[in-house]
């Protein structure tokens, strides 16, 4: 088999598996900061038990995040050595900055959260939760800076086939950094708060930990509702940015073959790239032009405007993008219903909606994964957009057989970890928030 393809599958597997954990971390640290602040203000045990419960879950998620994240950092050298040579002058810096500015902060203060409850003051403990929150989000920022540079590279010049940095700030604040960070953090907060809302909905349905769950579900829903609505704004800005800066990616998302004035938005269909045709397509006329250019008759570039060998695959980004948007719409719907129920003070008594919250726990993960697949597969055939092809980025010296072996190993290990993660997560949820000395290990 082809070594480049195997490396792509391996990196995709590792990044996809890793990406289960950081969004949960971001959302959970937000909830923890909120309840720890309430405990600091009121000194009520109830809030402490909530905060401690989610800290235990955070520890599990964090351990898996670390274990899988280190694989990615090594992978640039092991599997993508040519990439590292060609763009390491720019790409390495945000990874190093992530370690120095973010990951240390998150890890060191997580130790305080897990074992320091009785050793530090309430004020310092709250400070530690804020540091973990800050570290997690700064970590996301630096990693997304690196990813954004692959999508919309800036601040560099080509020297002897290598991309070298010409302007540090232009590189890190490249045109997609902020909108991507905005989009991903909102997605992460949706993921985290739907998790905490779903867990407390489960307790309410089972009539357990009712006092805690009432608090958690209200706070979680308030954040979830605003984020699910806000995600339409961030998603829209992000799409406009992609249309402007990576037009062939947007053309693949929408299966827009020909450059069109008054381009329609594709709702559903089956795009076949070889035939340049979309079967069973339902379209909304002029909507893509309107959304992308604020003008229903504006011209949107189609795939045929680009050389065939620079097209991304069409079907996978198309479906990923549409499933993501579908799920986003579902979240918005849930947010509206939840908002109405909350306004009428019926949230806690509406059992079918509580069930819906429980069942929705895994859905943001699907949206995250599909959004990420759309973004990264839509970037193909480039590793760094219009700078370095993926086919030229892989290590030269690693034989395909060895990659196949490690790919199988990773697949087996990640499957095992996923099963155990869910098993222990359910165990922790089964045990629930504890009061008094039970908190902590």
């Amino acid at each position: 088999m082809d070594a480049v393809l195997l490396s792509r599958i391996q990196f995709g597997l590792a990044a996809g598996f890793h990406f289960i954990f950081p969004p949960l971390t971001l959302g959970l640290t937000l909830i923890i900061v909120i309840f720890e602040s309430m405990f600091y203000k009121t000194n009520e045990e109830l809030y402490k038990s909530i905060s401690s419960f989610f800290i235990k879950i955070l520890a599990l998620i964090f351990a898996l995040g670390v274990a899988t994240g280190i694989v990615l950092e090594f992978s640039f050298g092991t599997n993508w050595a040519e990439y590292s040579r060609m763009v390491g002058d720019i790409f390495g810096a945000p990874l190093a900055a992530e370690g120095i500015f973010a990951f240390f902060l998150e890890s060191v203060f997580l130790g305080v959260l897990l074992f320091g409850r009785k050793k530090v003051s309430r004020g310092f403990y709250l400070f530690a939760t804020i540091m973990v929150f800050l570290g997690a989000h700064l970590s996301a920022l630096w990693i997304l800076i690196a990813n954004s540079w692959m999508q919309t590279p800036a601040g560099f010049v080509m020297e002897g086939g290598r991309a070298v940095m010409s302007d540090f700030f232009a590189a890190i604040f490249n045109p997609s950094t902020f909108v991507r960070f905005f989009h991903v953090v909102v997605a992460a907060w949706i993921t985290g708060t739907l998790f905490t809302a779903g867990v407390s909905a489960w307790y309410l349905l089972k009539d357990r930990h009712v006092e805690q769950s009432k608090k958690v579900i209200k706070v979680s829903m308030a954040i979830f509702i605003s984020m699910a609505i806000l995600q339409f704004v961030s998603g829209h800005i992000h799409s406009v940015q992609v249309t402007q800066l990576q037009p062939e990616k947007m053309a693949a998302f929408e299966a827009l073959w020909e450059t069109t004035k008054g381009a329609p938005m594709s709702v559903i269909g089956i795009p076949i790239a070889d035939e340049q045709k979309t079967y069973f397509e339902i379209k909304i006329p002029k909507l893509l032009s309107l959304l992308a250019h604020f003008d229903p008759n504006a011209e949107v570039k189609g795939l045929n405007a680009f050389p065939r060998d620079e097209w991304p695959p069409v079907m996978l980004p198309y479906f990923s993008y549409h499933i993501m948007i579908g799920l986003g719409t579902l979240f918005a719907l849930m947010a509206i219903i939840g908002g109405v129920l909350m306004a009428r003070r019926k949230l806690i008594s509406t059992r079918w909606f509580l069930w819906a919250l429980v069942l929705a726990i895994p859905l943001p993960h699907l949206a995250n994964q599909f959004g990420w697949i759309a973004a990264e597969v839509g970037r193909q055939p480039w590793a760094v957009y219009r700078v370095l092809k993926t086919s030229a980025a892989a290590s030269i010296v690693v034989p395909a057989g060895q990659i196949l072996f490690t790919l199988i190993m990773f697949f087996a290990i990640f499957t095992l970890l996923l099963v155990l993660f869910i098993f222990i997560l359910l165990k922790l949820i089964e045990k629930g928030p504890q009061t008094g000395d039970e908190a902590g290990y």
Binding site: A59, L60, F62, A63, L64, V66, A67, I70, V71, E73, F74, F76, G77, T78, A81, E82, S84, R85, G88, D89, I90, G92, A93, L95, A96, A97, E98, G99, I100, F101, F103, F104, L105, S107, V108, F109, G111, V112, L114, F115, G116, K119, V164, M165, S166, D167, F168, S395, I396, V397, V398, Q402, T406, M409, I413, F423, I424, K427, L428, Y441
Partner: protein, 334 residues
Amino acid sequence: METIEILQNAWFFIIGFLFIGYAVLDGFDLGIAVLMPALAKKNSERQQVMDAIWPFWDGNEVWIITAGASLFAAFPHTYATVFSGFYLALMLVLFALIFRAVSMEFWYYDEKRKNIWSWAFVVGSLVPSILYGVALGNLLVGIPIDASMNYGGTFFTLLRPYPLVIGILGLAAILLQGATYAAHKTDGVVQERAQMLVNRILALYAVALVLSFIVTVIYLPQTLSRFPVWIAAIVTVGALSGVYMWSKNGFDRKAFMSSSLAFIGLWGIVGTTMYPNLARSTVNEAFNLTIYNSSSTQITLTAMSIIALIGMPVVILYSFYVYRIFKGKVSIKQ
């Protein structure tokens, strides 16, 4: 010296510093994990051993992540050549680190499989503890690097006598970190066992040092004419006698500090042997990867220097503070 050369030299030291931070700090939690079967016989004792490192190990592991990323940022060619060349060996390290990272959580919660996770913790720590030294030994003695900076060997090229001896030396250094830390941080029967282990590990360490000296005379004789190498070697040997003296007289904290100093001495030997190379080529000396031919550009190194100068002092400050929060011995939970 031109500005770029100053920066390249500075990054040689900064990355050395990050690897030393990793060796000293994660060294003790890797070492204590490898020694777990000798230190703890009952689950309550295993819990005590884990409690001794639990608040710190996450933060300690960040040192290797930052060191690796800094190598990527400052010397991308070295990062690319070495990581792709050592593919299978590094993948083994990764598999081990994955199991090590999750084994403590799983050990704690997965009652039915406590035994399995306890062993995952041990083996997941043993594999990197040996392979780090083997990898470093290869960079010291040289690997087949061609004119286009690519590695020309196989997995078995890595298992030559010189790197294997350095692998044993690295393991001994990590075990000594673990044993002296356990003696300093625990009490009761675990502490007694740890104190007993220190002497045995010192014997292993001494043998490994003699062997390293012999293989260096055989494979890297030019090292012996480098004066700073001898200073670093004296620091190491002196610090090890300190470990022996202090451990014998029950000054466990000082023994741990001394073991850490010995580890810094070892890195001093590595640094003074290598400089200005980062990876030697056995094909042709001209193909050595050095801090000059494998580095990033001046703009990147400048930006990275600012990041490190702002960030690392803060990291050291709060890490130190958090270590102080958890000072004192860890006992068996009632």
